[in-house]
Symmetry: D2
Subunit: 178 residues, 4 copies
């Protein structure tokens, strides 16, 4: 899988992706990593600290493009490993339907979700992780917050692009929005 | 928890439950136990063989009443342990919303789901189990079938009360209905 | 329908319902009435002003018990008509699964959702209404608020029993939580 | 909207779309048009007869690409009008999350859903239509079938690309899969 993914990524040059981004919506997956107790109740939400497309250093969830030829489940796992490391042990939900769909546009007036690079359609999942998570690649830090902390004004102010709203939908879906 | 549950069960006599059953709908939870691979894809469905309320020996999913004062998550775990044993290690979904709701009535004309004892409103969940499952209490056997086997005419014919339709909804929800 | 409903309600005396309430969880449906534009986007949320089980005059959504022998869809329509009048023209969703399930207990420590009378398991739906809504029976007033107004601290403070949290889950589900 | 859509479509040449299709997954929406009664229960499913990407004349649901800069709700309405005419009066669901996500690949071994032209990620919705539907553009005919008819072996045999499985998931989601 790793080899195949590298090939797929290598094959799409920066020029190619720029061309494509101006022509069609790009498919993304986003995962809200959570810790759950043995009743499936969310105890902690994992928020990444990282450089965002808009140039800020912000709190965000796991996010990444779905590659040509790649299954959604594979894209979820690959992007979780990219951001949380290969020992995170994600439990991908059985239901292929996302908990919500978010539409990012360069123009902030369209949906309230923004991405200066592209029009992206993002499938959002809440994903329990059972293993060891450590910042990898472009992730600077991972904070594990309670639902109340994650929805606090302070933490929401550290999120851009609409990630604060996306997180609320995920918390509501998981029955733990304060 | 075990003590409290026993107390709750002990406290409602057979006479009480008969009285209540003629007056209000009874809340049930049902769990479709599944084995999943490391991508969250369902590989096997666990079907119980057991005596059903209608007097038949039939294939069915995990099912049981929600007790007075009991959380839905607790009811799910208690009923899974009752039918699959205490080592099943169920992974209760984070989303409190069921994948479907099924309404059982004594009269088969109302919804197609029948229970001769009562009007029951049942919240249905697909629950991955990671541990060892063994028939316990009233369960005679557990068969682990592929999605195609579980939806075969032979297996569907062994299910009564509408459990074959319930199972199809669960398989559809899990993206593995043939 | 109306006659049958009255019979069903009349048949369960106050004494009966008190007995039952102490023995099993009671099934409820709750509907968040919304106005939608021709793209299905929520523009307004209908909040009732009424006397709550806890004795307060509070803002709340449509809520009511499911009767013995009654289908969930019938219970939704009956309770919407009870609170919004018979010209509300509700569009009941095709999916029988609720957007969330809320568990009410007399003790506020159990789930954060409270009902001093009983343990209730409530199936929550977002229901577009297209007709004329007017306060009926125990409803004192109906306010049609934008999503931002409905989630404001002022309006949230007027809700008790956990209705403010329930409303947030519904708004998140409808993609309009600010 | 009509003008803008034409511009968007006109702007992407056949050459452009061919280039893009070989590089990234393409976002689609699919709508299963249904007639519902006043309780929201599905009575009929609308199946189109049309030329499919694989060269067959087959039964299928409403389907189409999401354009660059286009909202999902707009894409749903535009594609429903394209296939059912402008008087169909679709009731787009409030929940932006699809009832399932289907992944089409040129290779039938990957997911069982096939599209010889491309890798497509399709968001599937069940959409009640209240108006007059008539075949338009590339649609040859529309048949309104009961759930039992739509899931019959004869009708399933007239569907290709995995549309028979997609339809089952939609029927299950709507609580009307036999």
């Amino acid at each position: 899988m790793a080899d195949q993914t590298e090939t797929q990524q290598g094959w799409l040059t920066e020029e190619d992706i720029a061309t494509v981004r101006g022509r069609v919506p790009i498919v993304y997956v986003e995962a809200v990593p959570v810790r759950v107790d043995d009743h499936g109740e969310v105890t902690r939400i994992g928020l990444l600290l990282r450089a965002m497309p808009d140039g800020t250093i912000s709190r965000s969830v796991v996010s990444g493009r779905v590659l040509f030829g790649e299954r959604l489940r594979d894209a979820l796992i690959r992007n979780i490993e990219k951001d949380l490391g290969s020992l995170a042990l994600p439990k991908i939900p059985v239901d292929p339907a996302p908990c919500t769909v978010v539409e990012y546009f360069p123009d902030s007036d369209v949906s309230g979700y923004t991405d200066p690079r592209q029009h992206a359609v993002s499938l959002v999942y809440v994903v329990p992780v059972e293993g060891i998570c450590e910042p990898s690649q472009i992730t600077l830090d991972i904070a594990w917050l309670t639902p109340t902390e994650a929805d606090s004004p302070e933490v929401r102010a550290e999120m851009t692009s609409g990630q604060d709203r996306l997180l609320r939908v995920a918390l509501a879906h998981a029955g733990c929005l304060p």
